[in-house]
Symmetry: D5
């Protein structure tokens, strides 16, 4: 499943783009039971933005894959970094309770070299 | 649609003005479907404040225009910067779900040169 | 309408006093329609605190006055600064929707010279 | 009414203890009417922690005393400082509306000399 | 009860793992009455992550033990530090009301030496 | 202040019309203090519906009148009955706290003779 | 403490009057500890309505009395019935947790003989 | 704009189908200003169910039409009755505030003749 | 564990007593894992009321017993019926999620013979 | 996927059992896109109760099946009726928004012949 991109309409400005996908589901590799959660992606684009429909299909590609919370969060982050080369990006996954426990994983990455001077940005 | 302004009643003080417009709607240029969202504008005025009725009409002018989330957010920001020349300003757009995903775009701009010394402001 | 004061019982300590008045009403000078909002006052007293009953009557004195959001917020701030000479003070006004838009105005002022050393404060 | 204490089980670590007492009541010295509020106490212990039952009885001792918002908040803070000698402590009182206004008082105090190095604390 | 661990899948990245366990119960050593609360654990792993099922069983091992709020919070923190050697970790316990009072305890610990340079992390 | 009306577009159907006005204010005749509340009007029209702008102006006409909770609620009901002759109508007033107490008044009236047979209504 | 009354302004109409007093406090006769709760009174007046200030003072008269939940609820109901002779009345008390349990008591009484025909009432 | 239908998969059972469309917008015929609201449709199908995509397009067809609250609610009801011939149906419209007032319109219609015996329904 | 009782202070009136115990815990007999839930008890007393402290201890007696949701709910109901002989009683248990599912069990019982005439009750 | 059952522990009493499964997912047969929703099952057992783990697995069996909202709701109801022969049962499905619309389907069935006399039930 391929993440498609489009040109950032204001590359000269650092601004924030956030997408929340509350309908994420994958499978626990240990028990074979489905996991359910919300994926929050927040980034500052450099030259490219992620196209929403391809992002939805990308997230759906985990539907029947067995993968742990920590791994899927870092994998989504790595794939978005590879596709977008953003100035900075954070991926959060918020999971519904398993065994009475709710889990959250938060990973982020910044590319300072791609960060623009803040003279007229934030 | 023209943004009208009035004189800032306390230009000697840095203070915050925020307007939230939860009834924003435009059209997705790709699918032709209507988009719905909330626009939040927060700024520190320099010499001019935006007149509320003209702001409402300005936002209504997007009702039947096809424009992407990222572009409309930056466009509103650029238009307000051009009309008000504020000390700083931020525009946020919060969109209702499309394809199960909620999106938020946040852009801001500051004019440090217009910023007053903080001796008696914040 | 006069703001009455009483002696700060702990002038040697920087501490925060906040009063929220959710029943504020004034009149829009342009349309003659009533405006409704909440006024939040937060300050660090120097020698004087504002007496609550006189504050209530002071805020009621706007009931039938025509005045804009930006002006009334700054006017309340100026009047409290004149009456209390506080170490710092912030006035927020949160307005109910007009034309589908909710507005918030936030103004503050500090008197660094009156600020005590923080050796035993925060 | 005496505040009792017990030995801090981890004096080598700076950690936060918070107690919220939503059932506080005292009497307004001006009108004789009862006041109701929530008292929030948050502190970093040095050698001593406050025993919960004695704290409850201490707060109940204000039930029929006439005392202003600002004074009672500072008095609770002073009494806890005297009893615990904490590294830092904050007392907040949140009051139910009187005359349509909600009030909050926040006072805090720190003893930097008692603060431990942060090599293995926060 | 032993805390089991697994290898951190991205040790080269500082990222946050949070587990909330709202079904914690222990016993008050003074009154013999059960206490109920929520335990929140948030950490940045170094080489090891805690396995969720063993964490659940570990927390259940307090079910019939008499232990104070302050002690149990620090004990959980110490046990997790011993098992995981995390880069940093925080343990919060949020307790249901006793005698009309709600309590919260927050303890944390950092191992700066294990902290990675932030060149490509947060 | 006169309540204006327009023709009910579906007099052959019993259907419900509700208007909530959260910005109602009048004056307490005993203390001279302003009262604030929400007025909820719900009715089944017969031949006439109330015009919204005239309803707003009608409610504003109480702004500086001294009148008790019970009286104002029944007065609004009587005035709407006189103007609309509805099949049934209910007026509720929900008041912000005075002396720590929140009050609600609910009055209604029905004209069974004007009620249509329910063969094709509810 | 005496409950004062005033003439019902619309005795010819059955309508509902509700007062919620969230600041009620009495004392547990067994433990001597204070109890806190909300008293909700809802009635249809016959000839008399209860005057709000005397109701407030009446409820305050329980502040230092030892009385059980069930007894205080029925006592308030009996006293209001004696003072108002209402067409119907309900008293609810909602108590904050004691020993981890929240209690609610609901008592009501109707005087069918005083109930008016419903030809033009509800 | 045409409402499309499909065969009811269980015509032998009375069951409830509800669709909530929170993104409805039309135009006020008096002021030319846009109105925003939520349309709730709840029905018991007889032989036909409404197809969701055509329902969405049907509701979008009001986007630039001038029509009053009462009229649009009854029109949607009439159009759905004509297209579906349901056993019973209710249409509610919940509108965002105009002039400080929130409005709700609720209309419904039943066809008792089409109602099945309740031997094995509720 | 014995349920203690006291005399109903108003046996001549049908009134409602409700106790909510949000800190209930028992053990799943199949998995050995702890279950957590809220028990709601609502009854109309005949001659006897349940004493709160003994009710708390009675509910705590399930802490380490293996018992299914359906059985524990009916058992609590049977034990309260045996101890109180109430006019009517309902027991609800609301359980935290297990395997992603939340469960609720509601059982009730009435003794019509013990029900008083409603001449002056509800 | 087979629904397993166990003996009702109190067949002589009509009582309510409710299970809410907020993690339901199936596939839209028209678009191939995943649907997400909550399934609520509420029934009065006759001789049999549904075993929770088998219910969870049964619901998971829809994960990759294409089926419409109306059909899946009625299918779950039919399967539970076949397995449990309950006295009465209701199945609700609450779906997350698609095309901006939220849908709910509610189906129920009763077997009056299996309903017990209410002499000692509600």
């Amino acid at each position: 499943m391929r993440l498609e991109t489009f040109e950032n309409p204001r590359p000269q400005r650092d601004y924030v783009i956030r997408h929340e996908a509350p309908e994420f589901t994958s499978v626990c590799p240990k028990t074979g039971q489905p996991d359910f959660g919300t994926v929050v992606i927040e980034y500052v684009a450099d030259r490219l933005c992620v196209e929403l429909k391809s992002l939805k299909l990308y997230l759906q590609s985990y539907r029947n894959r067995g993968i742990f919370y920590e791994a899927v969060t870092n994998q989504i982050l790595d794939d978005l970094v590879a596709a977008l080369r953003p100035r900075r990006i954070r991926v959060e996954t918020h999971w519904t309770p398993r065994g009475g426990m709710r889990s959250v994983i938060i990973a982020e990455q910044a590319h300072p070299a791609r960060r623009r001077p803040r003279s007229n940005g934030r």
